[in-house]
């Protein structure tokens, strides 16, 4: 009987070790020291840390790291693999979903967060742009457009849900413009501004200026009006639609990652789970969720008195929470001749990760609570089955079972923390010719952290994309 109880409860009490922290601790240091080749070697060597359920993340991490290292061909290989894995994961495995209800969310295949999947295509487009393969970059734009259309459809009227990406739309506009596809470029430009308006974020000034000038100059005054854009005094170096230019993309700072927040609570006899947690300011928050009533065995302990105290169970679990990662690189600086340009942030992964956590909070919490309730029941049954006449052994068994059940409850903290904190753009209109650019990263006090010099050749009407990474 005891052996059978142990055998039956083993799979429910089994969990996979959470390796996100191990990965983070090593890769974070390598990213901060800009040693991307070492990071790529580490990822490949420690493939097992990702486990079989995180192949998408493994390939995305490698692709992003190779992109930073300037090895665009290798980056394309791994990012394309990640896209294929994402497509293959469309079908949800009934077995995995059921298993995750018993073990923890880490047993589910990692499908990527919505913004990460958009950025998967964005980074692929960046790789192709770095290699001057504009047709291939357009393929990535088109794939992301299809994806975002579906994301928007699924989001429906949920205003807090991720539905589009302003940076992606801006990049798409530049790619279409470089390919001479005027209408697609203007539509993407309109969409870029619209996304920032929808998510109630300030439209990057350079984008607002360019969108207004370009839309009105091409007979789309109504679009400019609809977006509430107005004439802003142009700067001396304003890019012109279809003109040749150098576009510097700055990948600055390190993205926040996911840690765990502990939740604890009481499962009350009549089917309510009262739980508590500490919010970002350390303040204790109390809330309640409906839960199934306690099993008959628990009532029996209370000798049939449903209202007796003691017919409650204490439960504990963990939820993913945003964990800040400090980095100094805040501003992109580009010097070309006597002119110095400052980068403007078009996207911040902190905002995107925070939005993702908020959007998925209820579904993760519901799934976790169901699991915790099931596991608590199993632990209780295991304790009953292992009950002996020796009070000391019973005490040790109970402590051991509870400790094991607590250990198994791990939050799913998988995320692509190798993405930059902000993506910044600098557009420099130029005449055809050869240019020498000095690219630099500055901290909040204007101190230069690192610089690189790039030699660029630009032909008539060409858009040359240059990528600069500073994760310090």
């Amino acid at each position: 009987m005891r052996r059978r109880a142990l055998f039956l409860s083993a799979p429910l009490l089994w969990g996979c070790a959470n390796n996100s922290l191990v990965r983070f601790e090593t890769l974070e240091k390598q990213a901060a020291s800009q040693d991307f080749t070492a990071a790529a070697r580490y990822i490949q060597k420690e493939h097992d840390l990702y486990g079989s359920h995180s192949e998408l993340l493994y390939n995305m991490d490698l692709g992003v790291v190779y992109h930073y290292a300037g090895r665009y061909d290798s980056s394309i290989v791994f990012l394309q693999r990640a896209v294929k894995i994402k497509d293959a994961l469309y079908a949800h495995s009934v077995t995995n979903e059921a298993a995750s209800l018993l073990v923890n969310d880490n047993i589910r295949p990692y499908r990527g967060k919505n913004y990460e999947i958009t950025w998967l295509h964005l980074f692929l487009a960046f790789d192709y742009l770095a290699l001057n393969r504009f047709d291939d970059a357009r393929v990535e734009v088109r794939q992301a457009e299809i994806l975002l259309k579906e994301t928007r459809r699924k989001a429906g009227s949920d205003a807090s849900a991720y539905r589009d990406d302003g940076l992606f739309r801006t990049t798409a506009a530049l790619i279409y413009e470089a390919l001479g596809e005027k209408d697609d470029a203007l539509i993407s430009l309109y969409q870029a501004v619209k996304v920032y308006r929808e998510v109630k974020q300030p439209v990057p000034q350079a984008l607002a200026r360019y969108a207004y000038t370009t839309l009105t100059a091409n007979g789309r005054e109504d679009d400019a009006k609809d977006l509430n854009l107005s004439a802003i005094a142009p700067t001396p170096d304003e890019p012109s639609f279809g003109g040749s230019e150098i576009v510097v993309v700055g990948e600055m700072g390190r993205s926040p990652t996911l840690g765990e927040t502990q939740f604890w609570g009481t499962w009350v006899r009549d089917g309510v789970l009262v739980y508590h947690y500490r919010d970002a300011d350390g303040k204790e928050v109390t809330d309640a969720l409906p839960a199934p009533g306690l099993p008959q065995s628990e009532y029996e302990k209370g000798r049939g008195q449903r209202t007796r105290s003691g017919t409650t169970l204490h439960v504990k679990w963990a939820m993913p929470a945003l964990q800040e990662v400090s980095s100094q690189s805040t501003t992109l600086r580009v010097a070309q001749g006597s002119r110095v340009y400052s980068g403007e942030s078009f996207a911040d992964t902190r905002d995107l990760l925070r939005q993702d956590l908020k959007e998925n909070h209820t579904s993760v919490l519901t799934r976790t609570v169901i699991r915790v309730v099931l596991r608590t029941l199993t632990a209780q049954q295991t304790k009953n089955a292992l009950n002996t006449d020796n009070p000391l052994i019973n005490l040790l068994t109970n402590i051991g079972t509870d400790a094991l059940a607590d250990q198994l409850e791990q939050a799913d903290t998988r995320d692509c923390f190798l993405l930059p904190r902000t993506l910044q753009l600098v557009r420099i209109p130029v005449k055809p010719g050869h240019y020498s650019l000095e690219l630099g990263a500055e901290n909040g006090n204007g101190k230069t952290l690192r610089t690189e010099t790039r030699e660029i050749d630009v032909r008539a009407g060409e858009k040359k994309f240059v990528f600069f990474t500073s994760l310090k």
Partner: protein
């Protein structure tokens, strides 16, 4: 249970567990149609080249040219991929070139990239090959027509279902006059349905 039956049961369980492992390869005919993901594949490329060759050989430009009792010289220009998939246009363009050359009605000259490679070789020969075997520069056949084209796609997706429409356009343009003498197109429509659950 006897030890013999225990062993048999263990073997059966092991066989069942390992039956899904390993790679199985089956040879199939090169022109068989196998659709796995719904993405552009060899069958689509084959359908495009077959249709285009048939249309090109039957069109009036070739008959008009045939009256001169010589074959037109054609070069392949850029076939741009404007679709949502990474499609190698080379596969069906090579097929089209092969069919047309083998028909004996059209001559193809090397494309831009190939010409650069050939010129490098000639430059190398000029310094290293004997005078008798050296290939002269400035004797290339100039093309009279250029093939240009594009692949476009439209995707209409909702949930697990998608309708994918491809349109492939090829144009034959007279280099001297920029006159379009032939326009061929091929349309392919697919309905793709993905399962939303699996075991």
């Amino acid at each position: 249970m006897t030890s013999f039956s225990t062993r048999i049961s263990s073997l059966a369980i092991a066989a069942a567990l390992f039956s899904g492992c390993g790679t199985k390869v089956t040879r199939v005919s090169h022109d068989s149609t196998i659709d796995l993901s719904g993405a552009w594949n060899d069958t689509d490329a084959r359908l495009v080249s077959e249709e285009m060759v048939k249309d090109c050989l039957a069109s009036t430009w070739l008959q008009a040219y045939g009256a001169q009792k010589k074959s037109p010289r054609v070069v392949v220009g850029e076939v741009r991929n404007k679709s949502h998939e990474h499609i190698s246009t080379e596969t069906f363009i090579n097929d089209i070139e092969r069919y047309l050359v083998n028909s004996g009605k059209v001559d193809f000259v090397a494309n831009k990239a190939e010409r650069n490679e050939l010129r490098d070789e000639k430059a190398d020969q000029a310094g290293n090959s004997s005078v008798q075997t050296r290939q002269a520069a400035g004797e290339e056949s100039g093309a009279e027509y250029m093939i240009l084209g594009s692949i476009n796609s439209i995707v209409d997706q909702e949930g697990s279902k998608a309708v994918v429409f491809y349109q492939i356009n090829l144009e034959l343009i007279q280099l001297e006059t920029h006159k379009k003498v032939w326009i061929g197109d091929k349309k392919i429509k697919k309905f793709v349905e993905n399962s939303s659950t699996k075991f």
